[in-house]
Structures are given as C-alpha cells and as structure tokens.
Subunit: 339 residues, 2 copies
C-alpha cells in the first residue's frame, strides 16, 4: 500500500487533542510529509502547522488529505462532508483510517468518480488472514501494552524501534493502527479484523525472521478496557512477545471516557499481560515501563521515573525524553537475546 | 432472520464428529425440523438420520440444505461444491454458518440465480453494532465458558435455559454461534464480528431486561485458546455475566488441534474468567461446573461429578444427564437474584 504524499492533515471539528491522535502522530513522526492542516473551523484542535485550504495545499504540492481525527464508532460526521468533497474537488485523494469506508458514503463515491480521485481506507485488512496456529516463530518480538488506550503505546514502539536501529540492531516497527500504518507505510489494522482471525492477523504481521531480528509491535487498547480488550488479547496471543513494555500515563485516574472505571495499576497490567501471554510464549517477560510524562515538568518527570523504577524493580523511562533511563530499558529488553 | 425449514443436514466429507457440531446440535435440539442427512460419501460421520439425496429430501418436504460441518478457516471445500449445486438444483435453499460467504463462490452464486434459490449466511453480523459502552444493564445474565473449544458450552446454555423456563423463570437462550442461531432462530455470530466491536456485539445480544429476567448466553472458545481468546474476552466483557458456568470435558488433556498445549484446570479457568469479568461486573461469580461426561459410563460419571464437586466446593453436573446435581447447580446460579 503506497499512500499519496505529501499530506494535508484534516482535523474535523474535534476539540480534544486525544481524538486527533492520527494527526499528531503524523506531525511528529512524518513531519517532512505533512504540508499543513485544515479543519471545519478555527478554534478546534491545532497541530501548529500552516492552515491551508485543500486548494492552497494542492497548490503547495499536497497529493492527499488525511482524516487525522477519530470519533467514537469510527463514522464520518456530516459536518466533515463538505471539506472532504472540497478536497476531492481541489485534486486531492482522501485517506482515512476510520471503520466506515469512505466509498460507502454515496456523495463521496460520486465526487471521487467525477474528479477521478481515490478514496483510500487504511483500515481495510487483507482477505487472506489465517486462523492463528499458535506455532512459535523465529526471531524476537517486543509488544507495547497499556494500562489504557491513547497513552503512548505507538510512540513507545516507534521510539524503541528507531533506538534499536540506531544501535545497529536489525529491528522493524510493526504498525497495528491507522496512524502507525500511515507512518510506516504498511501494517495490520488489528481493530478492523474479524475477531476469529484476530490472533492470526497478529501472527501474519510479524512472520518468522532471523534469530537476531526484533519486531517492535505497536500495542492496541488494553486488556482492562471494557470495549477493546478483545483486540488487545488477540494481539498479545498472536504476537507471542518475548518482551512487553507497559505504557502508562501518570495522573490518569480513570479510563478515557469511563469515569466509573479506575485505570489499573502498572503491576496489575504487567501480571495480567504476562499471565495471558504465557499461553503462546512461556518465556514472556516485562522489559520495563514507559511513562508518558508529557504533562510533567522535567524535574517532576525525572523524580517520578526514578521512584517508579525503584518501586517496581524495573527500568522505567519516558522514551520521548530519552536519557540513560531509556538506554537501560533498551538494555533490559535485549538481555539474553541472540545478537 | 427466518430460516427455511425443515432441513436436510449436509456432512461434507468430515470424519471427526467434533467438526460436525452444527449437524449434531440441530439433530439434538431441533430434531423435528431435520428431515435427513447427506454427505459426500458413505463412511464419513453420520447422525443416524435417514440418508437422503437432496432430491429425495425435497420430495419429503425439506426446504433447505444446511451445511452442518466446519473446517479450519471456515472455507467451502471444493469436494462439497457438486453437492451444494445439487441441492440448489433439487429446489433447496442452502444455509451456511461458515466464515466464507456462499455468494462469494461464483458457481454457487450463478446456480442460485439460475434456480432462484437463496444462499443464506447465518454468520453475517448486523451492520449497526456499537462500540461497547460498559454500562451495566438491568436483568440477570449467565454465560457458559470453557476450558477449551467444542466441549459443551452451547448444550449447557441450552439445557440451563430450558430448565429455568421449566421452573417458571423468565429466561432466554442467547445464541452466539452458527448452530445456536440455527436452533434459536436469532442471535449474534460473535466470531464474525470485527474485533473492535466484539464487546459491543455482546452488549447488543443481551439488552436491558426486567430485573427478574435471565439471559443464558452461549459461550465461545476459551480465554486459554491461542486462536480464539479474543472472541471469548469480548463476549465476557460485553455480556457482563452475573454468573458463569465453567464447561469441561474430563479426560481431554490437550486443546483440540494443539497437542503442545495442555487444557487448563477448571480452577484456573474459573479464576481467569472471574478476574477478567470483574472489569464489567464486580459481582460476577461462578455458579458451578458443567462436565461433558458423554465418554463415561453412568457410574463413572456420577462418581466423578461427586468427587469434583467435593474438590472444588461448587455444584458440578452434566446437564445432559440432569439429576439432583443439575438442580443444585441451577439453585446456586439463581441464588440471591430477584425472583
């Protein structure tokens, strides 16, 4: 799947940055391929990129408008439609990672046909996914898992993959969500796979590799999330990780959108993932903890990282901040593997 | 969904009864709607029903041929095709619970169009499934769970639902697999739902009900199965069961098709389901254990049921055998509920 680049990032009318994960991810990890941003109106979320209309973006070289926001349920909102039509009219393809297929909206389908533009759904899984075999594969696998959704599993996997590559380790980032796939240019949209094939899709995503190879796999959801745990468990079983890295956001007390549900502890999340993951890889272990300290000052973050590492007896780091702590986390992940 | 009845049951070319679950289920639970059986050749699995060709079955009043067998991956096998075409030609509709849609096989599609017969896929979920809300619903729910696949979760749920109805309890059997849906005439094909919507599909299957109502929900797969655990966890979270009944087959040492994986213990299966199920229903408890003792003599079964009940400190019964043990299991399931 080759996506037409560079992108114009569309932000819809969302007002909470957490619903614009895709747009922020592309800005942070594929900045050179993002020409600008566009939204239904000013006053919504901004990425700090130049605000360009589809026509302006096209004139500046953009080749597609990427829907960079998500809403609960993954549907296309009516208020977005004029902007998507405007993009097609301006000569841009439209790229989406939502559940609803672009082509299922008749007005979009008609406009794309009329303007001879493409509607590209990143979240359409391949049709040849097998039932998981459970067979242990060659090579090493690291999976990021979380205490909740939307707290850094993708960023952690991307950072670890790049840091391993920088160390000369043969490593690949394996994308499992729409943003990751847009960044990596390939991957498996795990949440769009039929449940019976969920673990099989994870097996397909990280096939047999050289004994010293590392697949760094982007986690999805959380085993403790009442909506998405099925995705997390299929991904865990099929990935057969040798190492998990648990991602957490300090200070988040309740699951996003679920004020009645406390965020589980890091220890509980480690235990639950190891207990369930052991089913397909008896040697699974926790390599460390990734804290999303974006809401903390530098000093607060360093103190928290040190105290959490002490408390848990594990390497703890914020991969975005890096530092010695992050190097120690990497060392611990690689420990004992073929090199 | 109204299925055309009575049925002719098609057994393909399978030689292991475990792959003919659907056919056996229909024979046992909808016997009056099964005219006969048909297969690729004699010497395969038999249900003990009259062997009738599609033409003979049509002449005896059958209105559809039901594919009563499954193969790994849920595809239509080439060797079955002449028989499916024969059924259409003889004037029968074809009903399937497989993953692969009947209409996606061009020869079948063409023959159905030519003979003006219907191809009915029971395993096609509705298109309006929501993301799970996690909101606690009114009424009582019982979910059957298992130490493995194919060991009695559907039969246990069917038997419990009918026994509760016989006691005058307002109870519904909620089907989650193709056979159950064919028996019940409605339900949710849980393994065909996109993973992100898995828990939401389970919420949709057992909506708010009267405070004294019981939904008896057919379990799927096993949390310990490397291929299907995603289905089991989404069903557990979305069902929000008040009571689980753990199903087990004594003497089964390894997961079907996985000689490398031991069947987990009953105690482990109880603990795992309660630990994960607590996330959406803090009051979840185990009502008892259902043993599939079909391979044991009457005396062996009674002794095992007694010793397991003693060992586990829980009611244990084989619902197919019934008896006082089963009544005690029902009593324990209903304990404390509004009546």
């Amino acid at each position: 799947m080759e996506l037409p680049q560079p992108y114009l990032l569309f932000l819809g009318d969302v007002t909470e940055p957490t619903y614009a994960k895709t747009a922020f991810g592309l800005r942070d990890w594929a900045r050179e391929r993002c020409i600008g941003e566009w939204s239904c109106s000013v006053g919504t979320v901004t990425l700090g990129l130049p605000r360009l209309s589809p026509a302006q973006a096209r004139a500046s070289g953009a080749r597609s408008m990427v829907i960079g926001v998500a809403n609960i349920g993954g549907k296309i909102v009516d208020s977005w439609l004029p902007h998507l039509l405007g993009a097609l009219e301006a000569g841009l393809d439209v790229v989406s990672g939502m559940h609803a297929r672009l082509g299922d909206t008749p007005a979009l389908k008609a406009a794309a046909d009329r303007h001879r533009r493409r509607l590209i759904d990143v979240r359409t899984p391949p049709s040849n996914i097998p039932i998981a075999s459970g067979r242990k594969r060659i090579g090493n696998r690291l999976l990021t898992v979380g205490t909740d959704c939307a707290l850094g599993k993708k960023y952690t996997a991307l950072t670890i993959a790049r840091a391993l590559q920088a160390r000369g380790v043969d490593a690949d980032f394996r994308a499992t969500g729409q943003t990751g796939i847009m960044i990596a240019g390939a991957g498996m949209p795990m949440d769009a796979v039929v449940a019976d094939f969920e673990a099989g899709a994870a097996e397909m995503l990280s096939p047999d590799a050289a004994p010293d190879h590392w697949d760094v796999i982007e986690g999805q959801g959380s085993l403790s999330h009442p909506s998405y745990a099925a995705v997390s468990l299929g991904l865990l079983h099929g990935s057969q990780p040798d190492v998990i890295v648990v991602c957490h956001e300090p200070g988040r007390e309740h699951l996003i959108g679920h004020p009645e549900l406390p965020v589980p502890s890091i220890e509980h999340t480690i235990e639950l993932n190891l207990a369930l993951g052991r089913r397909t890889n008896a040697a699974i272990r926790c390599g460390g903890v990734s804290l999303n300290t974006s809401q903390l000052s530098d000093g607060e973050a360093r103190r928290l990282i040190a105290s959490e590492s002490q408390r848990l007896g594990l390497p703890v780091a914020d991969p975005v901040r890096g530092g010695d702590e992050f190097e120690r986390l990497l060392d611990n992940c690689l420990r004992g593997a073929v090199s």
